[in-house]
Amino acid sequence: METHGDRTVTLDISGLGSLIGEPRTIGEELRRTAADAGLRVHVAVASTSTAAMLLAHARAGLTVVAPGTEAATLAPLPLRTLTQLGCGLVAVDPGPTQSPKPTAQSPEPIGQLARWGLRTLGDLAALPSSELSARLGQTGLRLQRWARGEEMRPLVPAGVAEQFEESLDLEWPIDGLEPLSFVLARLLDPLCERLEQRDRGVVVLRVTLMLVTRERHERAIELPAPMRDPRVLRTLALLDLESNPPPAAIDRVTVGVDVTEGRILQFGLFARALPSDTLATLMARLGALMGGDRVGSPSLVDTYRPGAFAMASFDPPRNFANPQSLIPNHKRDSAPSSVLRRFRSPVPARVVVEQGRPVRVTTDRRGFAGGRVERCEGPWRSSGDWWKNVWNCDEWEVHLTDGATYRISQSLNEGAWFVNGLVD
């Protein structure tokens, strides 16, 4: 079955003859069924969907066309009947209430035909095709084929949205992840089998637990890549529930998925594909261990606060054929001459200052020798966030007698010194 807008449906009834009977009988059955549902329908039966649609719009009731007589049956119909075949056609004689709606492709093809003096589909069908093509191009030829009731394309059946969901009512409530693991396996195995058959991958896994307290505990896990391995999905669900456990025992378990179509990826001969399910499992485990917002890729933040960063979701490329391409705007010839290795927790330091400049830096950190300052640059001052979490500091770069160059800072509000990183 194929739908055309809100008012027209075409069905392929070939094969129904043995079930229902002749085409007329089938048509009558359709009308009766529609009437039972409160719908008044026009039905046309023909050997092409084009002819059937045109006749259904043009004639009330039931119309049955014998095979081979489509063109002759359509011939007396007025030219404007062609407007029923989807959008893109201009109404002829729009009338007082209707306004023409030209398309970008063919502004007024039917209007043009009317101005030539054509009135019926038969008039259009009778025109020489080559001359029609010369004047109206492919649009004209398309209209002519419709006027003759010719089939333009096969029926494209409308699929019914399939729900991928499995549920299980438990005989007795379960508590804890271990028994839940068995239930999830029992639900996910057939679900994933269906997904395999439909060539679908899961992008969001939804677990709904109906609790003994009549509350619903719902979790939605977004997956980094479509997958349908039931073991991986079960692991991810369990990891998520481990971090977000239900507050009571469970009566009913429902597993649903949002899906996407399977994709075919062509990897290079030497490129190593990233195993997305392994990665997803790893990310889920890390998230359960560290907290969801503490796993990901560092990203720069729009602020002058030294060392500020945010966590973005980890989304690596699909293959690592060219690792250097991972670095944005990477230019091999213009690699930075030095980098700062930040100490993610700044190291408290003791700094001796003379004439406003640091002359000696030491810390209690093992392995940090410290020493006298041989050269220093700075201070560079930054401050901000005065409305919430103020920072106000001076930064210096100091080259010490231990041979290393460090970035140190002093909080101007508290006076405390820190070693922020090593300049490499």
């Binding site: 933040v301 560079w380 001052r381 930054s382 005065w386 930064e395």
Partner: protein
């Protein structure tokens, strides 16, 4: 010793935080003998700046930051953002040139916008000094000097200074070294400035708030549009001397340039347009005759008391060389009367028997015993101010056009234009300030509305009506840090 030659006031409209008076007060506190005000694309703050500086015994140097953009006709390649060239006024001719340049820029652009091209500056730079700073290095297409070479071409080598600023920014010093080298290459002196945007570091929060309002964002989302630190304040002279101790020439240039910049608003050299009097008459003699004629009509009989008052006023008017002003106002009133346009002089002008005699005002000040000195006094040293009420709409416009026609549009009259429109600069009031500050602080819309309703300034202020009481009445915790920030910023803005 250091002189600050690049400061901006709140008349840079959302790009600086301090009023001209606040800058002068701070300058006086730090012993500055002179300070320069360079607001964005205008001299709006110059009168107040000058008045405050005069009262404080400080020389008020005037200038402006002019927006320059690349044009198809200039050799300048398009720059990603318009650049600002700080320009200082050296002489009266320089001030005229600056005002003409600003007027040309503003007349052809929407309100708040406008830019000039370098080509348009050419020929209008006499009496002006240009500062070339870090921003101008961005025009690398012209080689290592960037825009400095074209500026030298337009202003002349002796009228360009390379400007060095130090705000303790990491990437600033490399550019400063380059600027010093460029100055040496082009044989132009180096001058140190601080690019002041607020008088005191405590005004930095207000500066950030204004930045957010300017960019229509909040503090939480403004990111790097906010200042990186609070160093753009008017620093003590000693601190600036320490900051630039390695560049003594840059420090010395500030004093030399401050001495060279001779012009202040006291040298405006303003005079009224010449009213065309009949042959053989002067402004004063013609005014006397008109006043006498008018008085005979107004005063019936024309008694001695009125005669003496009018004579006294005319003597003062003549002494202060203001006869032309009265003739012009009389002419405008006559035009209105001849064209059936309602007109009425009001205010302190009603205290003048001369104005009454000329038909400018409708009240007999002699009979009402009104004090003329309230209108015009030699001791006050101020010019008189005669307000005329006109009907709104087309009739008012006809009067304006008459003034333009008679006294000359831009460049139409001999000796140059003599007519200009003035406009008010609006300021934040209680409610508007509350809304803007509340939005910037990302406060709840309901909270902002409540604050806006209570933040009013009335003519009469209840001594018990404090900000804290108002906040509490609105159901807000006056001790909460966010509310305190709001209160402080609202008061400052």
């Amino acid at each position: 010793m250091y002189f600050e030659l690049h400061a901006a006031s709140a008349f840079s409209f959302l790009e600086a935080a301090s009023l001209p008076e606040t800058l002068i007060a701070q300058a006086a506190r730090y012993g500055y003998p002179a300070i320069a005000l360079l607001d964005r694309d205008g001299v709006y703050g110059a009168p107040r700046f000058h008045r405050a500086a005069t009262a404080a015994g400080i020389k008020a140097i005037i200038g402006a930051e002019i927006t320059i953009e690349a044009s198809a006709s200039s050799s300048l390649a398009p720059h990603p953002s318009p650049l600002r060239v700080p320009i200082l006024v050296e002489s009266a001719e320089g001030y005229q040139n600056l005002c003409r340049l600003i007027t040309r820029m503003k007349m052809r652009a929407p309100k708040g916008e406008g830019a000039l091209t370098l080509d348009e500056l050419d020929g209008h730079t006499r009496g002006l000094i240009a500062l070339a700073g870090r921003e101008l290095l961005g025009f690398q297409k012209f080689g290592v000097g960037g825009l400095i070479d074209p500026l030298v071409g337009v202003f002349g080598r002796s009228n360009v200074y390379v400007e060095i600023q130090r705000h303790l920014l990491r990437d600033e010093e490399a550019d400063n070294r380059l600027l010093v080298d460029v100055a040496g290459t082009f044989h132009v002196p180096v001058v140190a400035t601080n690019g002041v945007c607020f008088a005191d570091p405590a005004e930095r929060p207000l500066f950030d708030v204004l930045t957010c309002i300017h960019h229509k964002t909040t503090l939480a989302q403004a990111g790097k549009r906010l200042a990186r630190n609070s160093e753009r304040y008017l620093k003590p002279r000693e601190e600036m001397a320490r900051l630039f101790r390695d560049l003594p020439a840059a420090l010395a240039s500030t004093e030399a340039l401050a001495e060279r910049l001779d012009y202040t608003m006291a040298d405006l050299g303003y005079r009224f347009p010449d009213y065309p009097v009949p042959p053989g008459e002067t402004h004063a003699s013609f005014l006397r005759k008109l006043a006498d004629l008018g008085a005979r009509d107004r005063y019936r009989p024309y008694h001695d008391r009125a005669r003496a008052q009018i004579a006294r006023e005319l003597d003062l008017i003549e002494r202060l060389d203001l006869a032309g002003y009265f003739l012009i106002v009389w002419d405008i009133v006559n035009f209105c009367r001849h064209n059936d346009i309602l007109v009425q002089g009001r205010g302190s002008a009603a205290n003048s028997a001369v104005c009454y005699s000329l038909g400018i005002t409708a009240v007999d000040p002699v009979g009402m015993d009104l004090l003329f000195e309230r209108f015009l006094s030699e001791e006050r040293g101020e010019w008189p101010d005669i307000d005329l009420d006109l009907p709104s709409g087309d009739r008012r416009e006809r009067v304006i056009q008459h003034v333009y026609e008679k006294y000359g549009r831009l460049g139409a009259a001999p000796g140059g234009p003599r007519v200009a429109m003035t406009a008010n600069v609006i300021t934040y009031r209680g409610r508007s300030a509350a809304r803007e500050v509340g939005k910037v602080l990302s406060m709840e819309p309901g909270q902002v509305d409540r604050l806006a309703k209570i933040m009013n300034h009335f003519e009469w202020v209840d001594p018990k009506e404090t900000l804290a009481r108002n906040l509490r009445d609105a159901g807000l915790d006056a001790e909460h840090p966010a509310i305190q920030s709001f209160g402080t910023l609202w008061q400052r803005i």
